[in-house]
Every structure is written in C-alpha cells, then in structure tokens.
C-alpha cells in the first residue's frame, strides 16, 4: 500500500460503536497473555481479503473477519458452531446492553 496513488485524506473521525470496541478488546485478549493468535496473523488475514472486500468493509469488519478466520484455522471454533450461533444471534436481534 505504501507509495500507491491515493486522493486527499479524510480527517473526519467517527465514534466507535460498542461492537467495534469489543472486536478490539477480543483481539487484545486473544493476542495478549493467552497467545491464541498474533497481531501478524490478524494482519495477514486482512491482507488475504479480496481487494473489493478490503475496500467495501469497514476497519473493524475486516478485523472480526480476520480474527474469526484465525480462530477457525486454529480449531478454536468450528464452522458449524459459528454458523449456528450466527443464525441464532441474527434471529434474535441486538442484545441488550
């Protein structure tokens, strides 16, 4: 990415949603003393996303996609349980906070 052509820099900031801050927290916990995965793994997973996915996804969407792939690769989660849980969460709607 360094050195590629690009336009003006958008300096506007947005407030992170709670789910985004939780993605951040999960990554810190998993890459900290637990050593379930590393920051390098997170980055490799993000770089492995297709170019159009990279550009259409938001920052923490890329993080959760990469983090989840790493957990699947490591066998910490299975695709079956993840799929079932996502269906359940989706059907239920947002959790109370």
């Amino acid at each position: 990415m360094g050195g590629l052509e690009a336009g003006a820099i958008d300096q506007e900031a947005h407030d992170y949603a709670l789910w985004e801050r939780r993605v951040d927290a999960l990554m810190m916990l998993l890459s900290g003393p637990r050593r379930i995965m590393t920051v390098d793994q997170l980055r490799k997973g993000i770089e492995a996303l297709p170019p159009d996915a990279y550009d259409s996804m938001t920052y923490y969407e890329r993080w959760i996609a990469s983090l989840t792939n790493a957990l699947l690769d490591a066998g910490v989660l299975t695709t079956e349980e993840l799929g079932a849980r996502m269906a359940r969460v989706s059907a239920r709607g947002p959790e109370a906070e």
Binding site: M1, G2, G3, L4, E5, A6, G7, A8, I9, D10, Q11, E12, A13, H14, D15, Y16, A17, L18, W19, R21, R22, V23, D24, A25, L26, M28, L29, L30, G32, R34, I36, T38, V39, D40, L42, R43, I46, E47, T58, Y59, Y60, E61, I64, A65, L67, T68, L71, V76, L77, E81, L82, R85, M86, R88, V89, S90, G93, P94, E95, E97
Partner: protein, 210 residues
C-alpha cells in the same frame, strides 16, 4: 468553509448500534462462543473495552511535557522509553517503543503502511485517517504534501523522516517545545500537546496571547 458545511459537522455520526449487520452478528457469535469455551470471560471483555476507552492522547502529552521540563527524563526517555514512561505511571504495553525527537533540523512523522499499528497505550485508539488508504499510501511518498493537508509547513531545508510502524515496533514523536512557553507549568505545557503532534502530522503551537 461555508456555514452549511460547518452545520453538517456539528452532529456526531450515528454509531448504527441498533442495526445487526453481518459482521456485528459475527462479533457477538464469536464472543459468546469464546466465553462459553472459557477462553475469555464477559467481564474481561468489558474491562478491556473500558481500559482502552480510558487511554487518551493526554497520556502521551504528559510524557512530552515532562521531557520538555526535565532534560534528564528526556535522555532516559530516548534511551529506554519503556522504563522512563513507567516512571510516571504509564504502561506502553508489550511492544517496543521508539521515541523520535523533533529538532530544528529534523521533523518526524509516523505511519503504519501495513495496517494501523500505533502507540495505543499512550495515545488511545488511532484516528480514522491514520488507518486510511490515502494516508498510508501517500505519506511515505509525498510527506510534505500530506503534512500541508494537516496545515503543517516544513521548511525546505528541514529534513522530514517517515517511520513505518510494525506489530512489534511503535513510534512516538517528541515534538519541539514551542517558543514563548517559558513561564508555563508542566500541566499547562501538556495541555498544548495534541494527538496529531505526537504522530508528527502537526507541530505544537504556542498558546494564543490575549
């Protein structure tokens, strides 16, 4: 800048927390599975979010202001940042940190071209623009033009050094103390030091005289 433009920016962006997007569903599913498997606890996730929310550029500003008023601290800060920053009660986390001193001859600016590595223990979460494709692509090739977009004009005869962060190596810019601040206390100095000056896209300006 037109009145209309200012008005549009007066409202914070909604955080869309009431919509269940695909990736938000994924986050909740992964988190609940990790909790059930005993890999993390709900309380740990909550505390991690709170700890990160509490880290702000004010932490880095304290470090900078101390270095401005205490030359021994400044030497220790450059020689062994982790230890010096620990002296004043801040943790820099598990990563290596390099402190880059701005001088009359050199201006430093930091980027992470690979992703978004950042001294988050001292500055909080990185701003959106730091993570943007535009900043990461351009600052390594045309740093002076990028700095100009942030309102920073670096004299032609002053060297600009761009530092590319990695997962294990983070950078903090130690900006130059502005002129006209001799009478200020350490706390008053710290209040002048903004986030962007510690990334290196701006310089610290003296307080306005009234």
């Amino acid at each position: 800048m037109s009145h209309t433009h200012d008005h549009e920016h007066a409202q914070p962006r909604p955080d869309l927390d009431d919509t269940m997007t695909y990736y938000r569903v994924m986050e909740e599913a992964v988190r609940s599975l990790l909790i059930e498997k005993g890999i993390v606890t709900a309380d740990e996730v909550r505390r991690e979010v709170e700890n990160m929310d509490a880290r702000t550029p004010a932490n880095g500003a304290q470090v900078v202001a101390r270095a401005w008023v205490d030359s021994d601290f400044r030497s220790r800060l450059v020689a062994n940042p982790k230890q010096a920053i620990g002296e004043i009660g801040h943790d820099i986390g598990p990563m290596h940190l390099v402190v880059l001193e701005n001088t009359p001859g050199v201006h430093n600016v930091v980027v992470c071209t690979l992703c978004s590595c950042y001294p988050r223990w001292l500055l909080g979460r990185p701003p959106d623009w730091y993570k943007s494709r535009a900043y990461r692509s351009r600052v390594v090739r045309e740093p002076r033009a990028v700095l100009r977009e942030f309102g920073t004009e670096i004299a032609d005869d002053r060297e600009v050094r761009v530092h590319d962060s990695t997962a294990d190596m983070r950078y903090l810019v130690l900006p130059m103390r502005p002129d006209g601040t001799d009478g200020l206390s350490q706390a008053e100095l710290a209040a002048l030091v903004g986030r962007d000056s510690m990334i290196g896209v701006t310089e610290v300006v003296p307080p306005l005289r009234v």
